[in-house]
Symmetry: C2
Subunit: 142 residues, 2 copies
């Protein structure tokens, strides 16, 4: 059980104690350091966190591939970390990054290229800021 002293340490302390989930991951939000736009949401394990902090470039852990992953290793679309922050309960980090090219594997600057809007009794998506900076077929050969 967490005591109120533990919670106070986590929320008000200056020790970094990432609160990994059952899979050993924290959530990471990457935003564009200039525009503030959310570029992507992904996950980091302990090693990805350490490598990101040490190198100043974003590393993630891919849940689907179950593998550590340096952002941009294949595509060249790296993220230089300007600032990292953690949240009150230390189960998420926010990185402000200088993004080379596109953050999204579909070739868009951001993964969030569709707006969600309520229609008549339904919910629909519409493309917003959805132009591609590269063709994923050329980039990844698929």
């Amino acid at each position: 059980m967490s005591t109120s002293a533990d919670i106070n340490d986590i929320e008000e302390g200056l020790a970094f104690r990432p609160n990994f989930d059952a899979s050993g991951l924290v959530t990471c939000v990457a935003t564009d350091a200039v525009s503030g736009e959310v570029l992507m949401v992904a996950h980091m394990n302990d090693e990805a966190l350490r490598k990101t902090i040490a190198s100043g470039e974003a590393w993630y852990f891919s849940r689907s591939r179950k593998a550590l992953w340096r952002k941009g290793e294949t595509s060249g679309q790296v993220q230089r970390v300007v600032e990292m922050r953690t949240d009150c309960d230390q189960d998420a980090v926010w990185i402000r990054v200088e993004q080379t090219g596109a953050a999204c594997h579909t070739g868009r600057r951001s993964c969030f290229y569709r707006a969600v809007t309520a229609g008549e009794g339904t919910v629909q998506l519409s493309f917003v800021d959805a132009e591609r900076l590269f063709d994923p077929k050329d980039m990844y050969g698929k």
Copy 2:
């Protein structure tokens, strides 16, 4: 198994098909519609998503309390949704919000009030934008 046709539908389609995890949740990032600051990272289940879209105010699902939760119901610190977006694989949503007061239960505007920095062989936190807009003891009586 997902086929490439499925993946194309999810990534390039205009049907909202949230990709809930094993607990029935998607990740939600809330940013300040004016400053772009990340205010919080939380989760939404199907009902929280529907209520958020229908009402234009943020509803979440609390994993610790296992309960639907209208943001600001106790504190008055509501979030009016200016825009909602979903990401390429539809397992996360981004809401740009007009935040009344403070998003964080500790009384800060944002939950991300500590920077993570590398020291000499160690990692430390430091307070950034950490002034409190309210005292949680007064707000929540604890």
